[in-house]
């Protein structure tokens, strides 16, 4: 059920072929199709694929050992699906959308969210021309790897430190959302260094576009995650968020 049938190489080959066939470009979410040079696109695929494979294995293991968690897993996936469709206005006068990966990372740990995040990115790249297949590796790294790992790390640290459950959830989800766009900014900064200021100056420029817009949206996502997980705890008990499944 949770085994998307695609191969990275086919994806790259297909999008390469598409590049030859089509000439136009579209405005897109995260890093747009074709906006990473080939070697960078490939590098991000190489970095992201191991996380994806581990994520698939973790999902299969979870389905086997905890079949009763399927519905909760569907909830985590649906949350990402819903939130990444919502383009919200922000204080910078532009729009961006939340990512929703924090919720699932708190419930299941970061690895399953890599797979769920990639499925959502694929949906948007294939049907909506948002993001892209060539940039899928890079976008998956920022949203589906960096985001969930940040969320999980922040959640664990705050819980160890004895912080309030809702404060921990809020902080974890909001930071994961924000960090996704910080990573995107760094990814673009590395590829397009400023002629004068280099990588740092241009990363700062992209941070001004992505991260600044994202701040209120990240806060909203943190609050929404608190609301939903509060309901999950009400229904399934404290254990649902306390024990990350292995």
């Amino acid at each position: 059920m949770f085994r998307p049938q695609f191969r990275g190489r086919q994806v790259v080959a297909l999008s390469g072929a598409a590049a030859l066939l089509l000439g136009s470009q579209a405005q897109a979410m995260h890093i747009m199709e074709g906006f990473l040079p080939r070697e960078w696109a490939l590098a991000w695929f190489v970095i992201t694929v191991p996380f994806f494979v581990l994520g698939l294995r973790r999902l299969r293991q979870m389905m086997r050992d905890h079949p009763e968690k399927k519905l909760l897993l569907a909830l985590a996936g649906a949350f990402v699906f819903l939130l990444s469709a919502l383009k919200l206005p922000s204080v910078t006068g532009s729009c961006s959308h939340p990512t929703g990966v924090g919720l699932g990372a708190i419930l299941f740990g970061p690895l399953p969210m890599v797979v769920l995040g990639v499925i959502v990115l694929l949906f948007q790249a294939l049907l909506l021309a948002h993001g892209g297949l060539t940039t899928l590796g890079a976008n998956a790294f920022s949203m589906a790897v960096a985001g969930p790992f940040v969320a999980y790390a922040v959640w664990r640290v705050l819980q160890r430190a004895g912080a309030n459950r809702n404060v921990s959830i809020f902080t974890a989800a909001a930071l994961a959302d924000l960090l996704t766009y910080v990573v995107t900014s760094v990814q673009l900064g590395l590829v397009f260094p400023d002629p004068a200021g280099g990588v740092a100056a241009s990363t700062l420029k992209f941070l001004g576009i992505f991260a600044l817009t994202q701040i209120p949206i990240a806060i909203a996502e943190g609050l929404l995650t608190v609301l939903v997980l509060d309901k999950v705890v009400e229904f399934e008990g404290e254990g649902a968020v306390r024990e990350a499944l292995s």
Binding site: Q25, M32, A78, G93, L127, L128, L227, E238
Partner: protein, 110 residues
């Protein structure tokens, strides 16, 4: 196990209002803003930094129009919301069916 500190109805309402305010306030206070996509701005920034860069790939399928694009976004949101509310309704019904037992007890029975 110590009882979980769930949100009070008032707490929930406060959070919902906060979220609404975060989304609505920019629209109220930034009257002249375009509210285009941040990604579009990034695209402009890239072409400004590196004027020679040409995107080497383009999307396989592009929505035929803005309307079709909204349709697909609405569909994506509807699917997500549908599953979320299925979960909430399912759990609500399950709990009704089982009375007011503590969640821990309920889980042990299953």
């Amino acid at each position: 196990m110590k009882p979980s500190a769930n949100l009070t109805p008032l707490g929930r309402l406060a959070i919902v209002l906060c979220i609404a305010a975060l989304v609505i306030l920019p629209l109220v206070f930034l009257k002249g803003a375009e509210f285009g996509g941040a990604d579009g701005q990034a695209e402009a920034a890239i072409t400004q930094i590196d004027k020679t860069y040409k995107p080497w790939a383009s999307p396989l399928i592009e929505p035929a129009s803005g309307e079709i694009e909204s349709l697909l976004f609405a569909l994506q949101a509807a699917l997500g919301a549908g599953v979320i509310f299925y979960y909430l309704g399912y759990q609500q019904g399950r709990r009704r069916g089982r009375g007011s037992e503590a969640p821990e007890v309920r889980d042990a029975e299953l």
